[in-house]
Amino acid sequence: MKRRKTLETVIHGVFLAAGLITIAFVLMITIYLIIAGIPAIREIGLSSFLFGAKWESTANDPKFGILPFILTSIYGTAGAILIGTPIGFFSAVYLAKIAPKSVKRVVETAVSLLAGIPSVVYGLVGMLVLVPSIRKLFHVPDGASLLAAMIVLAVMVLPSIIKVSLTALAAVPKEYEEGSMALGATPVETYFKVSVPAAKSGIAAAVVLGVGRAIGEAMAVMMVSGNVPNMPSLFESVRFLTTAVASEMSYSSGLQRQALFSVALVLFVFIMLINATLNFLLKRQKEK
């Protein structure tokens, strides 16, 4: 009997450890990034690091200003969301409310396939289809640009936006819609004036989730954005926060390497803010 009790205590401890390990991982990642990211920021100076307009990490007199990366990440994400949200939103309303069962099944399968395609495949297709088309269409010397990255990211955030909005829309109580239709509204009016407002926290969460996906994507963007640390401009080759880390990490050393960790820390801060917003929205949706 006593042995059984000890066994139970040990097992309890093992499961407790497994439960706590998630928290440990989050703390570990945070602490590692802070420890690795702070030294370069202290050496360069916070404001000249964050607001410096020039990144010349391998020059004799190196400059480590990451404003171009920050702005590119913000513009690129904003562009992707501007393109992706309307398409995702309308698709979600269609799937949730109007689509016949068979159509719904086909489109939903398509969407989950879209979510499963590896990001390098998006990058590859972007590189060989999108980049040359942009070059021809807009007569620019090189199609690898912010615009190409925006379009690729827009496609990549579509599945997140559609899936989360769909769940939110499907959870709207039937009575709301029936009530609205009984008062004489057409189905389409009902969906957009009753169902959508009722699901607005969930739809907002879908968009925020898309923002998180877009700002964190590295490989696909790396393959289509040209990767030159310019200030963002639609047809110019640009570098994102994520690609800044990815492109120089393998050969960096000294202050340059530390600065890359600082770039990652800045990205991490962005992500944490987005996560907090997402959690807030999801909680509000659940409370309804």
Binding site: P86, A110, V120, V125, T242, A246, L278
Partner: protein, 287 residues
């Protein structure tokens, strides 16, 4: 007159929204079909037995992707071996043991945070922690450890969802017959939540197949042909990393598309398997 105007207005409003919805869903579907057809059409012709069964050779200048395929398999195995006990254990703790509600919320919040962190950051931290601090160098093991952290929330969530559906009466029944808690979990709860564990596995395998940014700095991109144990301790590219390197660094688009086509087919297969297992377990539960 006024009435009629209003009615046309409403009609146009409805028709426009209707059109927008169908157009959007159409665009999404066409995009997917285009991606699939384009990649398969460009890639399949280059998927030859020679490509699949050899390693890159400098002598003949030919590229083979057998090492990359094996690396992918090793990486998936190594990740799952560590990931499953951790993820399932965490889920069991949350649903069966944890009594403190604050604690449960904290762990769930941590898991959500983990699933929001982009893979490039995992790659960086994995490099600092596993490759440098634990001195594993660039190796598949270091890559697998990084992927364990990344996929932990997935397995934890699917198992937890499934554990919640196990009727409370089963547990009480087991206790009533004199089973200890561990015995009850092992014989009653875990077998009942197999569907969640398997779903978590499938989702994780899908993510590992598609992962590249987290592996670039942790597992590296060598193409050596190794057995399981040598493979785990040496640097190696998975299929996705190999695709990236061939397309971006070496301009070998034929090989890149061949790999892309293989990845596309695997993505298909994973989706199908996930669907089928979901249906299978649903059916079993209902009978």
């Amino acid at each position: 007159m006024e009435m009629k105007k209003k009615r046309t207005g409403r009609f146009i409003y409805g028709a426009m929204l209707h059109f927008l919805m169908i157009a959007s869903a159409g665009i999404t579907t066409i995009l997917v079909i285009f991606m699939i057809i384009y990649v398969l059409w460009k890639g399949i012709p280059y998927v030859t037995w020679e490509l699949l069964s050899t390693k890159p050779s400098y002598l003949s200048g030919k590229i083979g992707i057998l090492p990359d395929i094996l690396n992918t398999v090793y990486l998936i195995l190594a990740t799952l071996v560590v990931l499953l006990p951790l993820g399932v254990g965490a889920a069991v703790y949350l649903t069966e043991y944890a009594k403190n509600k604050k604690m449960v919320e904290l762990i769930e919040y941590a898991a959500e945070t983990l699933s929001g962190i982009p893979s490039i950051i995992y790659g960086l931290v994995g490099m600092l922690l596993f490759c440098q601090f634990l001195n594993l160098q660039k190796s598949l093991i270091a890559g697998a450890c990084t992927l364990v952290i990344m996929n932990l929330p997935t397995v934890m969530r699917t198992t937890q969802e499934s554990l919640k559906t196990v009727p409370q009466g089963y547990r009480e029944g087991a206790f009533g017959l004199g089973a200890g808690k561990w015995h009850m979990i092992r014989t009653v709860v875990l077998p009942e939540c197999m569907d969640g564990i398997i779903t978590g596995c499938i989702l994780s395998v899908g993510r590992i197949l598609g992962e590249s940014a987290a592996l670039l700095f942790t597992a590296g991109f060598a193409h050596a042909l190794n057995g399981l144990f040598d493979g785990l301790t040496s640097s190696g590219a998975t299929l996705t990393v190999a695709l990236y390197v061939y397309a971006k660094e070496e301009g070998e688009f034929e090989v890149a598309f061949a790999i892309a086509a293989i990845l596309m087919i695997l993505t298909f297969a994973m989706n199908l398997i996930a669907d089928l297992t979901g249906k299978y377990f649903e059916k079993r539960r209902n009978t």
